[in-house]
C-alpha cells in the first residue's frame, strides 16, 4: 500500500507543495509561470470522467509540449476574448499511487470556483488530476497532468487552465 512505501510517504509533502504552487500561479494571474510546472515533453489535457472512461482521447485543452502551454497563455493574453474572471483552486491531498523509473503517479482531487467580473461566483469544475511527476532540474515537475473533470458540461467557456 502506498502509505507504507517510505519513498512515496516522503514525497507527499513535496507533491502537495507543487500543487499549492500550481494553484497560486493560476489563481494569482501569473499564467506565464504555469508552463514551468511541466517538463518540456509533457502531456496536459482537460477531459471529463465520461470521456476518460470511454477512452476518448480528445481534450478541451490538449498539449504535448511546454511550447503549446506557452501558446495557450499567449492566446489568453493577446488573442482570446473573454470576460474578466479568476479561479480559486482548492486542491486536496495527493494520493501517491506508485513509482517507476523515477516517475511518481499521483491522483489529486480539486475544486475550482470561478469568480466573474461582476462578483458572481460559481462552482465551475470539480475533478481529479491524474499526474506523472518527475524530478527535473532540482524541482518536481509534471510530465503528465490529465485533468479529469467530474462533468462534461462547461458553463459558457473555459478560458483559464484548470
Amino acid at each position: 500500500m502506498a502509505e507504507t512505501d517510505p519513498l512515496l510517504t516522503s514525497l507527499q509533502p513535496l507533491v502537495s507543495q507543487l500543487n499549492a504552487d500550481y494553484a497560486r500561479a493560476i489563481d494569482d494571474d501569473r499564467l506565464e509561470d504555469w508552463p514551468d510546472f511541466f517538463v518540456e515533453q509533457c502531456l496536459y489535457s482537460i477531459t471529463s470522467i465520461d470521456n476518460h472512461r470511454q477512452g476518448y482521447p480528445g481534450g478541451l485543452m490538449w498539449a504535448d509540449s511546454k511550447g503549446m502551454l506557452q501558446d495557450r497563455v499567449a492566446a489568453l493574453r493577446d488573442a482570446n476574448i473573454y470576460e474578466r474572471q479568476t479561479y480559486r483552486h482548492l486542491i486536496g491531498l495527493p494520493a501517491l499511487l506508485g513509482e517507476a523509473e523515477g516517475a511518481v503517479r499521483a491522483e489529486t482531487p480539486f475544486l475550482v470556483v470561478r469568480i466573474m467580473r461582476d462578483g458572481r461566483m460559481d462552482l465551475f469544475a470539480t475533478g481529479r488530476y491524474l499526474d506523472v511527476i518527475v524530478e527535473d532540474a532540482g524541482a518536481l515537475r509534471l510530465r503528465e497532468r490529465i485533468v479529469v473533470c467530474d462533468s462534461s458540461r462547461v458553463d459558457t467557456l473555459l478560458a483559464l487552465p484548470l
Binding site: G59, W62, R72, A75, R153, L157, L158, A159
Partner: protein, 412 residues
C-alpha cells in the same frame, strides 16, 4: 405581421432587420418549439455509430422533447419520445446503453425498441380485482414516434409527416458539402457540452455569420486560418435554412494589409506560436478548402477547420439558454500522425477553443446588451438584402437565409 402567440410584430417584409424580442419572448419561444422543432424539419439527433448494433440506444432531445434513439432488431433506427404513455415519466434514464426493451421505472410499463407499448404491470389486476379496463387498447397508447433518416453517418429525426426526404430538404449543394467531409467511417474523439447563456438562434446566427469570424476571433485572422481577404464564399440553400461557408487559401492574401489598414484588433503582427505544430495541417480533402462550416436548419453544425472535425447539436433550453453538444471526431483509418494532429487542432474549437471560445460568450453579450431593447431592431445588411449564394464572406446572406426559413416555419 404578428404571430398568434406573441404580441410583437415583425418589421415588415425585410430580412435585414431582426427585432430583439425574438430572442426574449417566452410565448414566441414556445411557438418555436411547436412550429419549428416539432414541425416539418429534420433535427440532428446522433451519429449512426452511436447506435451501431440492435438494442444500442442514446437519449437526446428534439427541441425540448426528450427522445430515445435506438437501433431496432431489424437494423432500422427508431426514435420516440422518452415519455411513458401512462403518467409521462422518462422511460430511459441513461445517456446511452443497450436494451432489449424499455421499462418505465414508475409503474413498469414496457416498450419495445420501436416505442410500442407492449406490457402493463398488473394489466389484469390482482386476484381478479383492479387492473386496466378490458377495453384499454395498448396499440392506441404510446410515446410519440419520430421519423428517422440517415445521411453519411448522421441520424436526423422529424416529428412531422410533412418533412420532405433529407435530400430534398437539404438540396444538392449542401448534400455535396456534407458528403465532402463525412466520406468514410468516423471515430469519435470526445464529447463535451457547452451551456450558453443565450437564445438558441443567436448561436445559429453566429455560426452562419461569416462576417464575424476573423474579426471576433483574433486567432483566425492572425494565423490566416480564415480572413475575409482570402478566397471562398458561402452557399445558401434555396429555402434559406441551410448553409455552407468555405475558405480557400490564396497567395495574395499573405501580403494583404486590409486588416491592418482598418485598425482591426484581430491582427497581431508579432504573434508567433512557440510550438507551430498546432497548425501543421494537411489538405486531406485535396481541394484546398481550409475551413468549411455548414449548418442544417434548425439545430446542426458540421465543422472542418483545417484537420479539426466536429459536429455540434444545438439544444434550446428556454428563451435565454441553450446547450451546445460537441462531438469531436476523426476517421477510423486515420494514421497515427493524423490522429495526433487532430488532437492538437481540437485546441481550436470547443468551450476552450482558440477560435470558438468567443462564440461561447458573444451570444450572452447580445442577450444582455439588448435586455431592454425588445422592440429595437438589429441590422443584417452586409452583402445586400438577399439570401443568394455569394463568392465573398463579407456578407450576412446566410443569416438572412436563416430568417427567411424561420419566418416561413413560424408563419410570421
Amino acid at each position: 405581421m404578428s404571430s398568434a402567440e406573441s404580441p410583437h410584430a415583425w418589421p415588415g417584409d425585410t430580412l435585414t432587420r431582426v427585432p430583439y424580442w425574438v430572442y426574449q419572448d417566452d410565448a414566441n419561444y414556445r411557438a418555436e418549439l411547436r412550429r419549428i422543432f416539432e414541425g416539418p424539419v429534420w433535427s440532428y439527433v446522433c451519429l449512426e455509430s452511436d447506435v451501431e448494433r440492435p438494442g444500442d440506444f442514446r437519449t437526446t432531445f428534439v427541441g425540448e422533447m426528450p427522445v430515445i434513439v435506438v437501433r431496432a432488431e431489424d437494423g432500422t433506427i427508431c426514435a420516440f419520445e422518452n415519455r411513458c404513455a401512462h403518467r409521462g415519466a422518462l422511460i430511459a434514464l441513461d445517456d446511452r446503453g443497450k436494451a432489449r426493451s424499455f421499462q418505465c421505472i414508475y409503474h413498469a410499463w414496457t416498450y419495445d425498441l420501436r416505442g410500442n407499448l407492449t406490457g402493463i404491470a398488473f394489466e389484469k389486476g390482482s386476484n381478479g380485482r383492479g387492473g386496466m379496463p378490458a377495453s384499454f387498447c395498448k396499440e392506441e397508447h404510446g410515446p410519440r414516434k419520430l421519423r428517422t433518416t440517415t445521411l453519411h453517418g448522421l441520424v436526423f429525426a422529424s416529428l412531422s409527416p410533412e418533412a420532405p426526404t433529407i435530400a430534398e430538404y437539404l438540396g444538392q449543394e449542401i448534400l455535396g458539402r456534407i458528403e465532402r467531409v463525412l466520406h468514410r467511417p468516423v471515430r469519435v474523439l470526445g464529447r463535451f457540452v457547452q451551456v450558453l447563456p443565450n437564445n438558441w438562434k443567436l448561436y445559429v446566427e453566429n455560426v452562419k455569420d461569416t462576417y464575424h469570424a476573423s474579426l471576433l476571433h483574433a486567432f483566425f485572422g492572425t494565423f490566416r486560418i480564415t480572413r475575409l481577404t482570402q478566397g471562398g464564399g458561402i452557399i445558401v440553400s434555396p429555402d434559406g435554412g441551410h448553409h455552407a461557408s468555405y475558405t480557400i487559401d490564396r497567395a495574395d492574401d499573405r501580403v494583404s494589409t486590409a486588416y491592418r489598414d482598418q485598425g482591426i484588433r484581430s491582427e497581431h503582427q508579432n504573434y508567433r506560436l512557440a510550438d507551430p505544430s498546432l497548425l501543421d495541417s494537411v489538405d486531406e480533402y485535396g481541394d484546398g478548402i481550409k475551413l468549411q462550416i455548414l449548418t442544417v436548419f434548425p439545430n446542426f453544425v458540421l465543422q472542418q477547420i483545417e484537420n479539426c472535425l466536429a459536429v455540434r447539436q444545438v439544444l434550446p433550453k428556454g428563451p435565454d439558454s441553450m446547450e451546445l453538444h460537441w462531438t469531436y471526431f476523426g476517421f477510423t483509418d486515420d494514421t497515427p500522425e493524423m490522429h495526433r494532429r487532430r488532437l492538437k487542432q481540437l485546441n481550436l474549437v470547443g468551450p476552450a477553443g482558440y477560435v470558438s471560445m468567443e462564440d461561447g460568450c458573444v451570444g450572452g453579450f447580445v442577450q444582455r446588451g439588448a435586455a431592454t431593447a425588445s422592440d429595437e431592431l438589429s441590422v443584417v445588411n452586409m452583402g445586400g438584402e438577399g439570401t443568394e449564394s455569394q463568392d465573398t464572406r463579407a456578407t450576412e446572406a446566410s443569416v438572412r437565409g436563416f430568417w427567411k426559413a424561420y419566418r416561413r416555419y413560424m408563419g410570421v
